[in-house]
């Protein structure tokens, strides 16, 4: 019984991991198109191009898998997996609904999530280093620099919410949530979400893959399925960051209606945040590398520290 239960949970997570990023990708196609006055994909699948990403996947699968002659073969081939798998693992511990509706409840969930998400960036770094291409290397190093700068505010913001809840278990944090946490943790939510965007290298923080400067950064030399995996990891990343922000700062499954509809609330909040991710991409131009660093160190980190202090003061005041 226990084994079947575990298997079912893993399967559910896997299915979510394979479908939700595609839904986000398709939403991005359509939302971005309409925000630019276009229609987006209209043919694939017949109805408003719903199967566009499936068609893309088939196309990628047909392409030749090329490893550059000068590349570090093993590392080069391993990099997409390293980039993609951490998000799957993170997805496993994100609580979706009350009463144990979670892939695997981990007591130190917040630590686990933040630690594993850091590994994802390692994939880009490996790809950049192993490609034997100066643009890839530049992209990889920019990724690393960005990770260094943005991991800190992200961690501080997460620490603030953990402090408020008095636990680092994700399920515990959601259970401790009250509506007045929204204004209380607003700065933290902003910092966490922005830093998450930056870690995903999403526009406007996509300097590591700035096509006008360094082609496609660390992914320049990749083709076919491996390239598709990198793209998929980006969308899985959006899903994970949106879900985490929803769970930590927006109260996860809390919302009007019975507890049994909790999973719907989590999903709704996640997709609302994913929409914001897309919206920001369409709206803002790319930040320059120095602006990127400046924003993290002089903008987000002081804000995160301020949030931490605020959380501490109020926590002491109400206890």
């Amino acid at each position: 019984m226990n084994l079947i239960d575990t298997l079912l949970r893993c399967l559910g997570t896997l299915v979510a991991f394979l479908t939700l990023p595609l839904v986000i990708g398709q939403t991005e196609h359509k939302v971005m198109a309409h925000m630019q006055g276009r229609l987006g994909p209209m043919y694939a699948g017949g109805f408003h191009g719903w199967a566009q990403l499936v068609a893309d996947g088939v196309k990628f699968a047909q392409k030749e898998d090329i490893v550059p002659a000068g590349a570090d073969r093993r590392v080069f081939q391993l990099a997409p997996a390293v980039a993609l798998l951490p998000y799957l693992v993170v997805l496993l511990v994100i609580p979706v609904g009350p009463n144990g509706l979670v892939g695997q409840a981990v007591d130190a969930g917040l630590f686990f999530v933040l630690a594993v998400m850091g590994i994802g960036v390692l994939g880009s770094l490996m790809a950049g280093w192993a490609s034997a291409n100066k643009f890839s290397l530049l992209g990889g190093l920019r990724t690393a620099a960005q990770l260094m700068s943005y991991e800190l505010p992200m961690l501080l913001a997460a620490a603030s919410v953990a402090m408020a809840a008095g636990t680092v278990s994700l399920t515990g944090i959601v259970e401790g949530f009250h509506w007045w946490w929204l204004p209380w943790q607003a700065i933290g939510a902003f910092v966490f979400f922005t830093a998450g965007l930056a870690e995903l290298q999403r526009p406007p923080f996509d300097m590591p893959v700035a096509d006008s400067e360094i082609i496609f950064g660390a992914y320049t030399e990749y083709t076919g399925l491996r390239f598709a995996l990198f793209l998929l990891s980006e969308y899985a990343g959006i899903l994970v960051v949106s879900a985490l922000t929803a769970v930590l700062f927006l109260g996860g499954w809390h919302g009007p209606g019975p507890d049994s509809l909790g999973w719907l609330w989590t999903l709704l909040k996640t997709f609302a945040l994913a929409f914001v991710v897309i919206w920001l991409r369409v709206t803002y131009p790319r930040l320059r590398e120095d602006q990127l660093m400046k924003f993290a160190w002089t903008g987000l980190i002081p804000l995160a520290l301020l949030q931490l202090a605020l959380t501490g003061i109020i926590k002491v005041a109400i206890s």
Partner: protein, 192 residues
């Protein structure tokens, strides 16, 4: 005072507003475009109007109009008259692989034998097929739209202006005559 971040918010508002508006994408193969009547798609020939004056072929900057003709003698209708000759068109072709759609041939035609048609879907896989012969050019005539109405603010066409001037003059003359006729009987007792 400008609120910090108001520019960022404005940017977000612009994209969101655009998303709710109608898109501008033309779904061309599925939906035919709405072309204005003066669209320069293809040149149509109304060969009944053509007198083989060769003006179009000579004015064409690309020399892409080919005209062949011969003279035909019409027997005199009246025994005292001379026999008339007239030009008969043998070939009229426009090579659309050379044509640059300047429209000079249409402008220059004194007999209104050439017209613009908005049709544009006549791509071919062989460049030789782009030379449209007279029968094909004649077929395009059926696609020529009626000329658009004049702009309400536009200058009046010359012939209408002239006709109106003549009519006004006539009306004025008639009115003057009527006036004179009406005043003539009164003239004797004018000092009353």
């Amino acid at each position: 005072m400008r609120i910090p971040g108001s520019g960022l918010a404005k940017g977000l508002a612009v994209t969101l507003r655009t998303m709710t508006k109608k898109t501008v994408t033309a779904q061309y193969p599925d939906v035919q475009p709405e072309l204005p009547p003066r669209t320069r798609g293809v040149i149509a020939l109304l060969e009944e109007n053509c007198t083989v004056c060769m003006l179009c072929a000579r004015e064409c900057p690309d020399w892409c109009i080919y005209i062949d003709s011969h003279k035909e003698t019409l027997p005199a209708a009246d025994p005292n008259a001379r026999a008339r000759t007239r030009n008969v068109l043998d070939r009229f072709a426009i090579d659309f692989s050379l044509c640059m759609y300047c429209g000079i041939c249409i402008e220059v035609c004194p007999f209104d034998a050439l017209f613009w048609s908005p049709e544009f879907e006549y791509a071919e896989t062989d460049i030789l097929e782009l030379t449209h012969e007279r029968d094909r050019l004649r077929e395009w005539m059926w696609t020529v739209p009626p000329p658009p109405a004049h702009d309400p603010a536009a200058e009046e066409p010359k012939e209408i202006g002239m006709a109106r001037k003549a009519a006004d003059k006539l009306a004025a003359a008639a009115a003057a005559a009527a006036d004179a006729a009406a005043q003539a009987p009164e003239a004797p007792g004018g000092d009353r």
